[in-house]
Symmetry: C2
Subunit: 312 residues, 2 copies
């Protein structure tokens, strides 16, 4: 079947978004006798990899599309990313956001000039609210993951990582809706067909894990501190890519996520949000096959309230 | 007069220590309409810039010197650095450390195989204790700042920073004993004689500030959370360099240091210890002359207990 994105889309995205994103550092160390390369997307502008996809989509729009504004729904990091990219091109962003999203994410989004529309994620449907706004404005939807431009943009994280690290045995990225993992797998396998690509998912939000086992998109009720990975089911476009290119989804517990975030804080001096620490948790807690001697690990974001850090 | 180090010493140090240190990232952003380049030495191996000086000294020693061991006294970061560099060359490190040093620093030092000798910093003299050990062992002293090899090694932080950032109006580094500031000023002025070099010091430990005003080395009783900057007086070798090359020492309050560390944590996603946040505090709280449009800022370290972070 035809996939939503090809490796060339990721390379084009890299050129398109270069003026807006930060080329984040890759930190290397040996962990349990394995060479580990952390791609620090927590240090990305807006505090997460999400700016890659959002800016790839928004920078590709025509002026008349930008004039009608950008609309999205997001638990937070994608929202900030859309706000930053929209502000960069002078477009109005409208963000549909759960009213219980971490305060730092709501505030940071408003800071960039976006209009925030909050909703109750237990009683209201964010897609419907966004659709209503799009109807009124004729704006463009920038969905959080299930869009070729978003997926291609997120893949640039792996492109940079592998450029900096050189050949690796494996790559691991967290999976929520699957945009990051699908994009990264697409470019990683193109650079090196032998690389083994893994997703990392909270055991309490294992929709992609179950979907791969079932061979079709399964829906779960996520209950995890990793608020960026609470999508209930994989994307329509992301899932086939993951099915084809990802070897396995590694599951980690809530306690392991917190412990990994704490270790990154104290040993690596990096603030990583729970969602961003899930792939590191899989490495720290021995989920990778033993024969893997080198691994690239995407630390996907760092947006976390001070009160949340104190619970690490 | 003859200075303890020359720019060529810093360049030689860079080549010598390259196998041991991490080339730390430089993070850029615009802060209050000023271009700011943070040199992230909190992400250095051992959690601070101190590995630069320690490895420069230790890697220059002859095998017979290494066999007799390395001795130092330090409140922490220099201790860890000596432990790492000594372990790298298979030498025994002995560290004289205050018994009330942050726990993370004591533990991290022991982890690298160093022997720890604790003392009470209110009743005992660390130099005397170290001298006693040196008498017994015939080992080599690796002082925390007042040594040409240490100063030259620390200067490599500015060499890397300016290589990555390009020309800057100013450079700012924290000042304790003055090794980092003297080394950085030496190379920065050689790269660009027009660059303005500043030190940043806690107002509660302003020995270098007072010494510059007096024209001679003044002694104070430091009382600051910035435990890495508690040296009571500038070094004999570092002070003349600072006198000649540094434009001014910028003072910041304890509250400003905490606020800067918190801002680096939440906005920049970086764990920076109080000492390491002092130069950032000077930037965040408007201590730089207004006409400075671009500045390199050394974030010197990130070794801090979890309990201390919670007080930010």
């Amino acid at each position: 079947m035809e996939f939503a994105i090809q490796p060339a889309d990721v390379r084009e995205a890299a050129a398109r978004i270069a003026p807006l994103i930060r080329r984040t550092p890759v930190l290397f160390d040996v962990v349990d006798e394995r060479r580990v390369f952390f791609k620090c997307e927590n240090l990305q502008r807006g505090g997460a990899f999400k700016l890659r996809g959002a800016s790839n989509l928004i920078l590709s729009l025509a002026p008349e599309q930008l004039r009608r504004g950008i609309v999205t729904y997001s638990s937070g990091n994608h929202a900030q990313a859309v706000a930053i990219a929209a502000a960069h091109v002078g477009a109005q962003a409208t963000i549909v956001m759960p009213e219980d999203a971490p305060r730092i994410k709501i505030e940071s989004t408003r800071k960039y000039g976006a209009r925030i529309v909050t909703y109750n994620r237990f009683t209201q449907n964010r897609e419907e609210i966004a659709a209503g706004i799009l109807n009124e404005t004729g704006g463009t939807l920038a969905p959080p993951f299930d869009h070729p431009m978003i997926m291609a943009g997120q893949g640039t994280a792996a492109l940079e990582l592998l450029t900096d690290s050189g050949p690796l045995d494996a790559l691991i990225a967290p999976v929520g809706g699957g945009g990051l993992l699908a994009g990264c797998a697409t470019i990683a396998k193109a650079i090196d067909p032998a690389i083994r690509v893994f997703g990392a998912e909270p055991a309490n939000a294992k929709d992609t894990f179950l979907s791969l086992a079932a061979g079709r998109r399964v829906r779960v009720e996520p209950d995890t501190i990793a608020d960026g990975l609470r999508s209930p089911t994989p994307g329509q476009l992301t899932f086939p890519v993951i099915q084809r290119l990802v070897e396995a989804i590694l599951l980690v517990s809530e306690e392991e996520i917190r412990a990994a975030a704490r270790r990154l804080l104290l040993e690596w001096k990096l603030v990583v949000e729970p969602s961003g620490a899930v792939s590191a948790a899989a490495v720290f807690f021995g989920r990778l096959p033993a024969e893997i001697g080198s691994v690239g690990v995407v630390l996907s974001g760092g947006n976390v309230d001070f009160e949340e850090i104190m619970k690490y």
